[in-house]
Structures are given as C-alpha cells and as structure tokens.
Symmetry: C2
C-alpha cells in the first residue's frame, strides 16, 4: 500500500530536530519512501490531506501491563504494599485466560487512540496478548510475568517453560511485529535460584529480560540486608543484565552512583514510568544522570492499575515536569529530548530499531494530531505543544509498519464496541468473584 501525506507539519525527531512545515511524506509498504521531495513516479493508493495535521513518529511504550485495564480504578490512594496485597493481587486471583485477551484488547484500543504503535507488555498468558498484537497491527515485546518463590515457584517454572516454548515458535513472528522477553516479576518476588535459571535461559536463547527493578527505598534496604547488594548490583550478580539481548528494567527509581554505572556498562534499558513513581510515592529516578552517563532510557505508562491509563502523551509530560521539579531546574530535560525518549529510545528498547524518526528508509510508524484546536494555537512551538498541551482526543490517525490502525479517529483493526462491552462485563465479574490472597509483598 502506497500512502501520500500532503502538506502536513512534520516533527521529524531527526538529529537536527527539524520541524518541516507543509511537507509531504510518501509511505510505501512498511517504510517511509520519501520526506519532502517525493519521487515523480510515486503512485499513491491513498492521499491524506495534511492541512492542520502534525505528523510525528508514533509512540513506543516501554513498560505496560495492558490487561490490567480490567482493574483500572480498583486500588486508589493506597501505599504500594497494601495496593498489591489487599487489592491488585487479590483481584487477579479471579483472572482467567480469556480475561487477559479482552483486557489486552481494551488496552490496545486505548494505546492506539493515544498515538502509541508499540509496547513492552508484562503480564500472564502472553499468547492471549499475542493474539491482540496480531489482530491490532501493533508491535510489542511480550513477557510472561513470572513469580518464582514460595508456593508459586512451580507455577513460575511452568510459566518460564511456556514462555520459552512460545518464543521458539513466535519470537519475531507476526511479520516481525512480535517479540518475546522473559519476565521475572522482580528480585523480591523470585529466589536467586529461580532468577539464575531465567538468566541462563536468556543467555542460551538470546532472548531479553523485562523486569521491575529497584522501585523503592524500602526494596533497596531489604536487598542490602539480605544480599549485601543493591537490587541493581544483585541483578548484575545473578547474570540478569548480561544477555546478548539487553535487559529492560522498569522504574530504577532509587539508585546509587554505582548502580547507574552498572546500568550503563551492562547496556540495560531503563523504562521510566513517571506516573506510577509519583502516584505510588516511589520517588523519581535521576533521569538526567542516566542520560549523562549513557544509561539507555525510555518512557512507559506502567499498567492502568497504578496509573489509571496507558497514555504516553501524559508519560512525556510527567517525565518533563517530574525532572524539572526534582532538580528545581526548568531547563532540565528539554522537550525535544522527551520526544526522543518516547519514540526512538523506546523503539530501541523493544528491539524495533528502525523506528522513531521520520526519514527515508525508516519504518512508517506515525501519529497524526489535529492542530486546528484552541489548545494548539498559536503554533509558536508545536513540539512543546505535543509534550505539554496535547491529549489523546487530538490523535486522528496512527500508522504502524505502513498500515493504518486509526484513521479519522476510527480504529481500523479492532471491534472497539465489542471489546468495551466484554471488558466491562469481565472486569465487574472479576472483582465480584470470591477473592483470595495469592501472594505477599515482602514489605
């Protein structure tokens, strides 16, 4: 399919940070064929009027738990420990495999509508989420969340095996849109022995690891008491950060200078999820230090159980506001850098390296915004407006791998009406079911 976008404002996110006004973009098959000067022999199947449209690279969400849409709003205003022990893990005791499918589908609707084309997901029954990725046309790196200690250890082992079986068949499947990672929940919910097995499997198969790491000061203190090392140092010690495929570590909210050096040296990608950090009072990671010292950083929404939505536009805004606030330096984390974290840095973190820039030969992963609205006017700085004034209602079109997922504000690949109804019914059933406590946060 050849698509021509005519006369749009294009936020390229290239090295020069160019914003091209009234510019044409030609898309051929999965890639961007040309930007600006269009070859004379290009024959579009579809021409998009770019007037009053800003085109930018689609967003990459580096840490999410999509099916947790089903528990959105189920655990408000609670500390992390009670949030998990009393609400989230209890509600999940009633989760079925089919719930995961519908929760993932609801998440896909929400993500596409807010300009996101790809995400790193971390949850159960990843083959159900994979069905959604396949059907929706999105890209994803999927991990089965593994609890590897106590009564759940056997389930953890079985789920690791299922992930490995799934990866053998499906890693880099769905026309290359589907990637697989190993998903130990965290150091504190797995034994060292279990984590060494995960590391070993990762090394053998060349598959990455996606885990939660160093989320709170309490976790750091317990790790020091138990292992004599910080969570980051302990993860390195266990071999979790040594894979040929780089590790993706969510949060790293509380880190030492030595931790940062380890993250940089091991080429770990940190997925910063500012909304969860703030809402659960975890503290904010020193993003500037990460970037200065070469820690590969990207942005994520985390799950809607903590953050209530899957809105990467908001994740960008909160990343900027959070860093400026923490440092008391308004010049911290300029908005162009934030845009790159949410696009090309995320793409690299998920293993889709050819995305996140609008330039010839790059993947056609695009988000279009309607800028003819009061809150976008005047157009002094459209890049700043994306980061600090835009909202999902502005997103008119989303393209992934050259295919429309959203066109004129309509989802093109998913039956949204049915998904909304199924998800609502299942979510209500989940929280009304007989619930039980399944595991305990080691607080």
């Amino acid at each position: 399919m050849n698509v021509l976008i005519k006369g749009a404002d294009v936020l390229t996110l290239d090295a020069d940070g160019r914003l091209l006004r009234g510019c044409d973009i030609a898309v051929s098959s999965r890639n961007i064929l040309a930007v600006g000067e269009i070859p004379r022999d290009f024959e579009p199947d579809e021409t998009v009027v770019g007037r009053h449209r800003l085109v930018m690279p689609a967003l990459f969400n580096a840490h999410a738990h999509g099916p947790m849409t089903l528990v959105r709003g189920w655990a408000e205003d609670l500390p992390l420990e009670r949030w998990l022990n009393e609400r989230i893990w209890v509600a999940e005791s009633a989760l079925t495999r089919a719930d995961v499918f519908w929760g993932a589908a609801l998440a896909a609707c929400e993500m596409i509508r807010s300009g996101t084309a790809a995400y790193a997901d971390h949850y159960f029954w990843l083959e159900e989420t994979a069905k959604v990725v396949e059907a929706s046309g999105m890209k994803a790196m999927l991990a089965w969340c593994l609890f590897g200690r106590g009564a759940e250890k056997e389930v953890g082992h079985a789920s690791l095996q299922k992930t490995l079986d799934f990866a053998r068949l499906r890693h880099e499947g769905a026309e290359g849109r589907l990637r697989v990672a190993l998903g130990p929940h965290s150091l504190y919910m797995c034994t060292d022995d279990f984590l060494r097995k995960v590391a070993d499997a990762s090394h053998r198969l060349g598959i990455g690891i996606h885990l939660h790491l160093s989320e709170s000061q309490g976790q750091v203190e317990r790790s020091l008491a138990e292992h004599g090392r910080t969570p980051v140092a302990h993860a390195a010690h266990l071999g979790l950060l040594d894979g040929a495929a780089h590790a993706l570590a969510a949060h790293c909210a509380c880190v030492t200078a030595e931790d940062i050096a380890i993250l940089a040296r091991k080429l770990v990608c940190v997925a910063h999820c500012p909304k969860t950090c703030m809402k659960l009072g975890m503290g904010l990671p020193p993003l500037r230090r990460f970037l200065e010292l070469g820690v590969h950083s990207a942005l994520g929404t985390d799950g809607p159980a903590s953050g209530n939505d899957l809105n990467m536009l908001e994740a960008m805004r909160l990343a900027g506001l959070g860093q400026k606030h923490e440092s008391r330096r308004p010049e911290e984390l300029p908005h162009m850098q934030i845009l790159k974290l949410a696009t090309q840095a995320g793409a690299r973190a998920l293993g889709f390296a050819n995305s996140g820039v609008i330039a010839e030969g790059k993947r056609a992963d695009l988000a279009l915004f309607d800028t003819d609205q009061a809150h976008w006017i005047p157009a002094h700085d459209l890049a700043a407006s994306v980061v600090y004034a835009s909202h999902p209602g502005d997103v008119t079109d989303v393209m992934c791998d050259g295919r429309w997922l959203l066109r004129n504000r309509q989802l093109t690949t998913l039956d949204e009406e049915r998904i909304r109804r199924e998800a609502q019914t299942r979510a209500l059933r989940m929280v009304k079911a007989p619930l039980r406590q399944v595991r305990q946060y080691p607080g």
Copy 2:
C-alpha cells in the same frame, strides 16, 4: 429554560461523595431544581440522554492569565527569571488591547472544552476579557495586573484607577457572572507604598485582591533580607490580606509554619497551580498542611505561557501526583478531595458560593463526560477516572448558570473558527514585532 438530563451517572460531590447511577437531573432557569426524584409537573424544553454520560459540577479555575494563550510555547525550558525577563515580558511589549480580547476568547474556547465554567483571571485591559466573559456565558473574577514600581509605577496607578472605575460599573454584572478583584502582580513587582494603596482601595470598596505570593525560595530570601519578613508575613503587614472580600493568593509554594497560620487566620484562598510549580521548578506547596490547618485552597492552571494549556482536568491530576510524590505517601490527597478543590473550593474562592455541588437549589454549573470510551472502562471508580484518566476530548457538554456553553462537543456561544484564526495571526505578529524589555525580575 428547563433541561432534563435522564439516566446519567452523577458525581454529586456532596458531603457523602455520592455517585448516583442512572440518575435524572432537572435544571430550571439558572439552578438545579431536582436530582433523582423529578417533580411530576416539570416540563423540560430539552431532554438530554444521559446514557454513557458522567455528570459532575463544572470546574472552577482559581488562577489563570487567559490572554497568555498568545504566548503559549514561546518560552520553554527556561528558569523563572530568564523566562520573564527574556521572553514573556518582552513579547508582551507588543501586546495591544485587541490582542487581549482575542487571547481571552481563545482561552475561553479551551477552558469550556475542558469542562471549566468559571475562572479567576489576572491580566491587562480587563474590560476586554469582560467582553469575552459576557459573550461566552462563563463566570469570572477579573483583575487588572498591576506593576507598581520603577518606571511602570504611574501606569500601575492608572490601571488601579481603571480597575476601580470598572468595578463600580461592572462588579457583579453580566447577570452576576462577572466579579472584579484588584490585581497587584506581586510584592516584588510593587513598592510597599503602592501595595498599601491597593489594600486601602480593597478595604474601602469591599473588593478582593488577587496576587502572586511566595513563588520561590529566592523570593522568600529576598523578602527576609529586604523587609525582615516572609512574603506572606509582609503581605499581611501591608494589609493586603485583611479585606472583607478574601484575598486570592496564587502559588504560596514556599511557606513557613507561621505563614500557613497567617493564611488560615486571614481566610486567604491559596490557588495551587501544580503545573507551573513543577515546570518552573518553584517547588510544591504543602497542600496537606494547608487543608489540615484550615487554609482555604483551590486549584488553578496558571497561564499557558508557563503551563502550555488551561486544562483543569490536568491540574487535578498533577495536584494529586505532586502531593503523593512529595510526601512519598500514596494515600495523600484522595481523589474525592481533589475533585472538591477543583469545583466547590474554587467557586468559593471566586465568590460564586452556590456552585460546585449537584444538589437541589444549587447553580446549574455542570460538565458532562463521554464514558463509553476505552480509557473509562471498566467503571470501578468513575471519580478516580475523572482525576487520573480523563482528558478534554471526553467533555461533551458544559452548562454554566443553566445555559449550555458546549453542547455535543460544539461551542454554543463563541465563534471558535474565527477566534482561532485571529488569535493565531495576532500571536505571530506579537513575537515578530520590534520587542523591548519592559521590566526586570528582581532575581
């Protein structure tokens, strides 16, 4: 006009925090006639289908500079001092009276579309903003921003006189929708002598004062050095906080325990604007202490020059995230309390005391949200969804004093297309004009 809203979900924000499912609301003339049980003889002129709609009190923005929409995105990633000296105050040197009208009109479009029915504005040529208030059907408390020192002192005196003349004619005008306040910019941009004159006029005429107060630690230190008092204590000393009409103080980001006691004792309303506090690295006020100690607090967006938008939904979210983060306590500032700050507390701050609750006899100031969208599902906690997941694209209808300002996502009182064009043209002219530095932040 009689309006019947049938079968909506109603977030009343009453003392019990009731959410009424599938509930009817009758509006007669400017007020809510009934909620739930509708009188048999009620004859609606219009019936609104409430299915998939959440109705809540419309939002009250307690601190804004509406016409600064014209400099949205004009001063990004800069510290407060450079932001004012090099960008904002320079661009404003080219501002005309007509620019203020169109900038205020653009602000009104944006505010209404994000669920806001009323605002406290602080800018120049308030009679232009008053025209917009009159035409739009919104409610507002308007202040002429007064600079009262140095070369500008004479202009400051003249503007104070213009405000007083305007107040005599128009305070409580526009069917009671228009209120006037005196608007000294801040202690640091006015001499004590000038501020005493403002205080005196406020006392004589029973008109409130709206000012910026204690925005940064630097301001506190300079005030201590210059006056031997904190900004709050010095404002009290000058009589600025003693009016029969309570003072409205924006920010109060850096305050001592004694300052908080003064704010409580003097019945000052603090307008907390979390986005500006974070984006300009000013620090966040101790909102919990304010509330515990009885300081009347409300929420504002500040101007789009600092915050890029006028979105009160976002102000609520940032207020919650900011307080939870600062205290590292996720239980801090529960979302029901945030909703009250953004509605009934703001209404009281602006002097429209009968608003902010959906109950019989209250003013019909309402905002309706389309909840049949992916990011609102499931409906475990609709109040939490308003605070942590909603965006302006969800707002379908806004009513102020029983009159629709937005209906089915269309503005009913303003010519938005023309406003967008005029504002865009004027904003570009402003920043291309020969600019000059007009005043200096005493940094």
